[in-house]
């Protein structure tokens, strides 16, 4: 059963075709990864799913429902959460406030309630605080920095806080745009462990874009390969690894041809 189904998605900016009839499925409760060379359209695809870009053609179905015409805030309320390639935290706020912001759509208090604070607004705030503390801050091991402003944190920790904020959205599908880019080995291992735990313990489907092949092959259940805005192949990590088109996409056309010539000169000549 697939929670997210993308079919025939095309997106172009002027003459540039960012996505061409992209179709693939994200099976429920898996770690699905989109890989592909730079400029292949991975982030554009993410932006279509979050609702920033309007594709000219094709549909995105989430839990069987077409998402066309649903604005980004409404998609968040449906359970689509994401992180960004270049961290998009709110720098002026503390870690705790950033994470609480993730729960925005699950809270109700309005302007008047906020001004008064006592009563319903406070009950709601305290409930969210407790949920954030117990489920997220403990889980991601960031309790030592909860009072710190985000701007003062290291890159790896900021990525972790962004993940925490996405988790506070109580997502059904968590989209991670390059979750381990720029991290050291230890931080990468931590992040991989968190992603696996999120899938297993929280039952969240993870859709991620990542360049670190070691990690992708280790933790993905399903991989889709994108090149020049088209899906070349999708399947299990082992299948994708062997696919000649994937190798060509990564190594380039000329390389594989010359490689082949060197290997069997007779057959090429014949």
């Amino acid at each position: 059963m697939s929670i997210l189904e993308i079919s025939d998605l095309s997106l172009s900016f002027g003459g540039v075709k960012a996505l061409q009839e992209v179709s693939f499925r994200v099976p429920e409760n898996t770690v699905t990864t989109i890989i592909g060379p730079n400029g292949a359209g991975k982030t554009s695809l993410f932006n279509c799913i979050s609702g920033f870009y309007k594709p000219q053609q094709g549909t995105i179905r989430y839990q069987g429902k077409d998402l066309a015409g649903t604005r980004p805030p409404a998609r968040a309320a449906l359970g689509l959460a994401r992180t960004f390639q270049n961290i998009a935290l709110f720098r002026g706020m503390t870690v705790l406030d950033n994470i609480k912001l993730g729960a925005h759509v699950h809270m109700k208090s309005g302007l008047l309630g906020s001004l008064m604070y006592f009563g319903a607004a406070r009950r709601e705030e305290l409930a969210i605080r407790e949920e954030v503390e117990r489920r997220i801050i403990d889980f991601l091991e960031i309790d030592h920095i909860r009072r710190q402003p985000v701007a003062s944190l290291s890159y790896g920790l900021q990525k972790r806080v962004e993940l925490a904020r996405a988790l506070a959205m109580r997502p059904k599908v968590l989209m991670l745009d390059e979750p381990v880019a720029g991290m050291n080995r230890e931080e990468k291992e931590d992040m991989a462990r968190f992603i696996l735990d999120i899938r297993e313990e929280w039952g969240v489907t993870v859709l991620m874009v990542e360049h670190d092949m070691g990690m992708v092959m280790d933790i993905s259940d399903h991989i889709a390969v994108l090149n020049f805005g088209q899906v070349i192949t999708e399947g299990l990590p082992a299948e994708v690894q062997k696919n000649p088109e994937v190798i060509r996409a990564y190594l380039g056309n000329s390389d594989i041809d010359s490689l082949r010539k060197k290997l069997n000169p007779d057959r090429e000549a014949a």
């Binding site: 805030p73 960004f84 709110f90 609480k100 001004l115 904020r165």
Partner: protein, 347 residues
């Protein structure tokens, strides 16, 4: 040095004052504010009232510009809407002052929402120009809509009253203005420890990711405009009760700039900064005047030299703050606090 800051409940951790030291100093401040009118002379009392009104309006603008990141040059216009509403109500209905002030705030909020509509499309300087246009437009209405606003001559109003008690002196107005200022600053503080305030800051810091988190940008930008203008409207209403006359020239464009400067000098996105900025902007020109008076016995020509210099010194002070303390007066306060919370250790 303070140690042992452990909390048993989340409620204790989310409180505004988290230590007894803070509670003590705040109670002391309230006490001073309470005793002040009984000790102060007429001039200081007058200044106290002006600072109170400025604190309300600056806090309002801080919500919009400092916390939500929407620059507005419409503050004087919104205050004017509040001022004229109070004046009109006073002349035509005789409502008691709390009702009149509430209506003044709501009226200004309604106008604020209209003025804020372009904010979904335009940001930064462009929004500043759009609000500037609104301000000019409001000024035009104040001057020309004679049947309601009294035209250039303006409106004179009766003193504020409640249950037959009238507030005709500065001394009595102080007891409306200052408690209201304290209450409204606390209300603003509450906003910023709940969902709505976080949404405002999120829009300021990164509006695209705010949208991804499910924050409806238009809704919250307009909410910020409404709240900010409500504060301005109440401040304008108090202004009308305080001077008991409103004319189009009571709310000049320079006033909008005054409040923007107060927010910037005090510290954008910091409620304490708004308070300090309002006090600074109101009091420094007065202090400079006092200095001139003090110099006159020694240099009889001092007023001749100093009076044109006042504006320049005032401007230079603002520029100095922007250069040497870009986070505003609030940052100075935080430094002092850090020093004492570590004292007697150096770091």
């Amino acid at each position: 040095m303070r140690i042992g800051d452990a909390k048993q409940t989340y409620q204790a951790d989310e409180a505004i004052w988290t230590s007894s030291t803070q509670k003590f100093w705040f109670s002391l401040l309230l006490l001073i504010l309470l005793v002040f009118p009984f000790l102060a002379n007429a001039y200081l009392l007058y200044l106290g009232c002006l600072v109170g009104i400025a604190v309300i309006s600056t806090t309002g603008l801080n919500i919009l510009t400092g916390f939500t990141g929407l620059i507005s040059l419409g503050q004087a216009g919104f205050m004017g809407v509040g001022g004229y509403t109070v004046a009109w109500l006073s002349l035509n209905t005789g409502l008691p002052f709390p009702v009149a002030l509430l209506l003044a705030g709501l009226m200004a909020a309604a106008v604020g929402i209209l003025v804020g509509l372009p904010s979904l499309r335009v940001k930064g300087l462009y929004l500043a120009i759009a609000t500037l246009a609104a301000s000019v437009f409001l000024h035009f209405i104040f001057a020309e809509w004679e049947p309601v606003t009294g035209g250039m001559a303006g409106l004179s109003l009766e003193p504020a009253h409640l249950f037959g008690f009238t507030f005709q002196s500065d001394f009595r107005m102080y007891f409306i203005i200052v408690p209201l200022a304290v209450l409204m600053v606390f209300a603003a503080r509450n906003v910023f420890r709940t969902r709505v305030g976080r949404a405002f800051i999120a829009i300021r810091d990164r509006d695209i990711s705010a949208e991804i988190l499910g924050i409806n940008l238009l809704r919250y930008k307009l909410m910020s405009f409404a709240l900010s203008s409500f504060y301005a409207g109440v401040a304008g209403g108090l202004f009308a009760y305080f001077y008991r006359v409103v004319t189009p020239e009571s709310f000049p464009l320079a006033m909008s700039i005054f409040y923007l400067a107060a927010v910037i000098v005090g510290g954008m996105g910091n409620l304490l900064g708004g308070i300090l900025g309002a006090a600074f902007m109101t009091l420094v020109p007065e202090i400079l005047k006092l200095l001139t008076a003090a110099l006159t016995p020694f240099y009889p020509n001092a007023p001749v030299f100093m009076s044109p210099m006042l504006e320049i010194i005032f401007g230079a002070l603002i520029v100095g703050f922007l250069i040497f303390e870009p986070h505003g007066l609030a940052e100075i306060w935080h430094r002092i606090r850090r020093f004492f919370s570590l004292w007697p250790f150096r770091n």
